[in-house]
């Protein structure tokens, strides 16, 4: 505490909001985990889809992932942030109304997601599936949270901003940037939209978002919480404040670059893949720095590990963080990714992080915080111990089974015989071999879900034996912001001018041509040396400057934002700019001028026909991409199994892209023409009729439900605004082409005694599948003649 002559004031913390977020965390946790157990059951036993479209794997998988990320971990994050922020800043949250608007708004988002996903309303982008009106609600709630948080920072009674607060700041600004950029879209109706990015652009932006949603929603908030709650539980100060400074800045700067490691060996330009790989490997250092900082905080308190279940949860959580952040960069090495990508290894990796790191951190925080919120002790340490041990075994069952299954799948897919051909050409055999692992995963996942009920019982009983506690503290009242130094003064101070100068010189080096860039490079080096000299001679000033930055919320936020924007900008802008240059048409004259275009011309695409587009929209809404990729990697075994490797040009008109990230089923990039329409019909109606060992759900509703050509026409016009080269003629003939193509498929099936309406979802999906890897499929001759 400060000197006694400092004016003191009483602060009453708002813990009612913390209690609300804590309760809802455990409620959604149960829902998310049970949904996970259900979809795990569906992969083990296809009957668990119950023949209902609303419960099919493709629709429920996104419900599970979103519930786990945004409902369980998200609400836990809010609970921890609201609790720790008030205590670290020694002030009540700035506005109770905003806190409750944050709470109810977030629950509304989750409920809306829980309703729309089973209905097949999705954007078709992993972890960003929410339809656009809900996206707007997310943005609104996030802005409310941000205002409340930064307002609280502005009125705080603690001069210093502890490291946890830095992580919260970076979370707020980065999630805002990621969410907005990845959800830029044009609505076609209240429930449907197309992203403004397509193909490779969309892939890069999506995984820039997808990876950093993991980074800045599932990593930086729990790290901030770790720096607070682990310290509290251990009753020891953080092991190294210095390490936390390096940890924070290097983590947020590096993480943002790593997204392309989700796209290794795809049609993403090689330079972006390599960049993603290198920065992912670099992530090892800050991640392990953070992990060690967490574990070493327990120095001198390891005895508590024997007796305190909270410490147990934290230690295993941080250990899983270390494991996941070792495994992630490992999987980002291209040769390892070649084996692991699309397999269950990735599922194992993700769940080591989600169940081990995020889940156990959340449970640890709840077990620590909940009794204090009710002014009592935890009802049963033994029950918490049981939760911990059963949960740990459950995670290991889940993760190890997916590792074994995943590596086996990777080896199975790539195995070649002595003649260099596929040793196991039947894909389904790999799935069959994984069944034992799928059953083990189901058991582990279910066990983990059930142990959550132990936490529910413990929390209820703890609350019953205590009462809601209102905490009031006496704190010194002071003006915290930068010790009286304005943001402008800080941003224009000497150290900032040096740093700004380095940034400007680096930019000029990039912008200048070959002749001039060495000059800027030389200037950059001189400036860097001058900075070091200045630092050496004015160490005190520099130290004071950074100390002021650490205490100035606005300046700190600006610098955090700059750190994450640099990585995002240099990755995304070149791809977006260059993709705009992919020609929509290549004439003989153009090839004569530039012969290299001849190869590109071979892969140039025509837009989808109206019925194919309608089928594609159904494919997206059903979440087919969660099991079927559309990206053949340039490996012999993939080319032998699926056909020629995928080119960037082939998916340039795909809004959203459908490259996928997992192969429970075959890659579909070139499935067009491999089977006839009847095969597709039979397969969709009952996958076991064509592949007896398949675990795919049935899609019988495709036969009874229809697609509207007028809706498709409207969507074509929307896509045209996004650069898809539909012509006026395409619009004029859209309805006619839609009907004639549907009729041709219907007639074909009728010859085989199958009645399918030309405007059925079945006809549309078959049209789309038959198109994949080929040009637009024929419509009626009289239309083609026009």
């Amino acid at each position: 505490m400060e000197a006694t002559n400092t004016q003191m004031k009483t602060v009453v913390y708002d813990d009612s909001i913390v209690r609300a977020f804590s309760v809802i965390t455990i409620v959604w946790g149960v829902v998310a985990l049970l949904a996970g157990a259900l979809i795990a059951a569906q992969l083990s036993f296809w009957q668990a889809n119950f023949g209902l479209e609303w419960l099919s794997f493709g629709r429920l998988r996104q419900l599970h992932t979103n519930a786990a990320i945004f409902a369980f971990v998200g609400n836990g994050m809010f609970a921890g942030i609201y609790y720790s922020t008030q205590r670290l800043l020694k002030v009540r949250m700035a506005n109770d109304f905003l806190s409750w608007a944050n709470f109810w708004g977030w629950q509304l988002v989750i409920v809306a997601a829980a309703i729309t996903y089973p209905l097949g309303l999705t954007q078709g982008k992993e972890y960003a599936e929410l339809i656009w009106p809900i996206d707007l609600l997310v943005v609104l709630v996030w802005v409310i949270f941000a205002i409340n948080f930064f307002w609280t920072l502005a009125i705080r009674n603690e001069k210093n901003m502890y490291v946890a607060i830095w992580f919260y700041i970076s979370t707020i600004v980065t999630i805002a940037v990621l969410y907005i950029v990845n959800n830029l879209q044009i609505p076609t109706s209240l429930t449907h939209s197309y992203p403004i990015f397509g193909g490779v652009q969309d892939a890069l932006v999506q995984w820039w978002y997808g990876h950093n949603a993991v980074a800045f929603f599932l990593t930086t908030p729990p790290l901030g919480l770790m720096y607070y709650f682990l310290v509290k539980a251990a009753e020891r100060p953080v092991y190294s404040y210095r390490l936390s400074v390096v940890h924070f800045w290097s983590l947020i700067f590096i993480y943002i670059w790593a997204g392309p490691h989700h796209l290794l060996y795809t049609a993403l330009p090689d330079w972006a893949q390599t960049l993603g790989m290198i920065f992912s490997v670099m992530l090892w250092a800050p991640s392990w720095g953070g992990m060690l900082n967490g574990l070493l905080t327990l120095r001198g308190a390891w005895d508590k590990l024997r007796t305190d279940p909270v410490i147990k949860f934290f230690v295993v959580a941080v250990t899983f963080y270390g494991m996941s952040t070792f495994e992630g960069p490992l999987l980002s090495i291209k040769s390892v990714s070649a084996l692991g990508h699309y397999t269950d290894w990735i599922i194992g990796h993700v769940h080591a992080g989600a169940l081990g790191w995020n889940g156990f951190m959340t449970f640890g925080i709840l077990y620590w915080m909940w009794p204090r919120l009710y002014g009592t002790k935890l009802w049963s340490n033994r029950l918490a111990e049981a939760h911990f041990w059963i949960g740990t075994v459950a995670i290991l069952m889940y993760v190890v089974s997916m590792w074994v299954g995943g590596v086996s799948q990777g080896l199975f897919w790539r195995a070649l015989d002595a003649e260099g051909f596929l040793k196991y050409p039947d894909f389904i055999e790999g799935l069959t071999n994984s069944q034992a692992m799928y059953h083990t995963r189901l058991l582990g996942g279910s066990l983990y879900a059930l142990t959550t009920l132990l936490a529910v019982v413990n929390m209820i009983m703890t609350a019953r034996q205590g009462s809601p506690k209102t905490v009031s503290v006496q704190v010194p009242a002071r003006k915290p912001e930068g010790d009286g130094v304005s943001a402008l003064a800080l941003l224009t101070s000497m150290p900032m001018l040096f740093i700004g100068g380095i940034l400007v010189m680096a930019l000029l080096f990039g912008l200048a041509g070959d002749m001039v860039s060495p000059i800027f490079l030389a200037a950059l080096l001189i400036l860097f040396i001058a900075t070091i000299i200045s630092y050496g001679t004015h160490q005190r000033k520099w130290g004071e400057w950074y100390g002021l930055v650490e205490r100035h919320a606005l300046v700190f936020t600006i610098l955090s934002l700059v750190a994450i924007l640099i990585g995002g900008a240099v990755e995304i802008i070149p791809t977006v700019i260059m993709s705009e240059k992919v020609p929509t048409e290549i004439t003989d004259e153009m090839i004569a001028e530039n012969p290299e275009l001849a190869e590109t011309a071979k892969w140039l695409q025509k837009p989808y026909s109206p019925l194919e587009l309608a089928g594609r929209d159904v494919y997206v809404s059903e979440g087919c991409y969660v099991c079927h990729s559309q990206m053949i990697r340039p490996f012999r075994h993939e080319v032998l199994r699926y056909g020629d490797y995928s080119r960037l040009e082939e998916s340039i008109y795909d809004h959203p892209f459908q490259w996928g990230s997992k192969r429970t089923g075959l890659d579909l990039a070139r499935v067009g023409g491999k089977y006839d329409n009847l095969w597709h019909y039979l397969h969709l109606m009952d996958p076991r009729s064509t592949s007896p060992e398949s675990n795919m759900p049935t899609y019988t509703h495709f036969k009874t439900q229809t697609v509207d050509p007028q809706v498709t026409l409207h969507r074509m016009k929307t896509l045209a605004k996004l650069g898809v080269p539909y012509t006026e003629e395409d619009f004029d003939l859209a309805i006619q082409r839609f009907e004639s193509q549907g009729q041709m498929i219907s007639d074909y099936l009728a010859k085989n005694d199958v009645n399918v309406a030309p405007d059925s979802k079945m006809a549309a999906v078959i049209a789309y599948l038959q198109r994949l890897g080929r040009g637009p499929q024929p419509t009626a001759p009289e239309v083609a003649a026009q």
Binding site: M1, S84, R87, L88, K90, E158, N160, Y162, A164, Y227, Y228, V231, K232, E235, P237, V238, Y241, R242, L243, V245, V246, W249, A267, P269, W271, L275, G375, T376, K377, Q465, G466, S467, P468, K469, T470, V471, S472, V473, I499, I502, F509, G510, S517, T531, Y535, Q539, G543, Y546, G547, A563, G567, A569, V570, E571, P574, V582, E596, R647, L648, E649
Partner: protein, 69 residues
Amino acid sequence: MFQEFYAKSDLLIWPLVGLVIFLAIFLGVLGYVFIGLKNKDKVDEIAALPLDDENETDGHVEGRAQDNE
């Protein structure tokens, strides 16, 4: 092939620029924490901030009294 088309782009200098910026800032941060951050008392004070609210015992309990302490 557009993959080669990308490979020849002038824009590819930007990742290099980004890397240079990162290294410069990273070295700066390292320099700060190992050279500039010398005030041990100050560091210890900040590191122990979460423990600074241990005097919450003056908080009061609403409703019925807790029965297990």
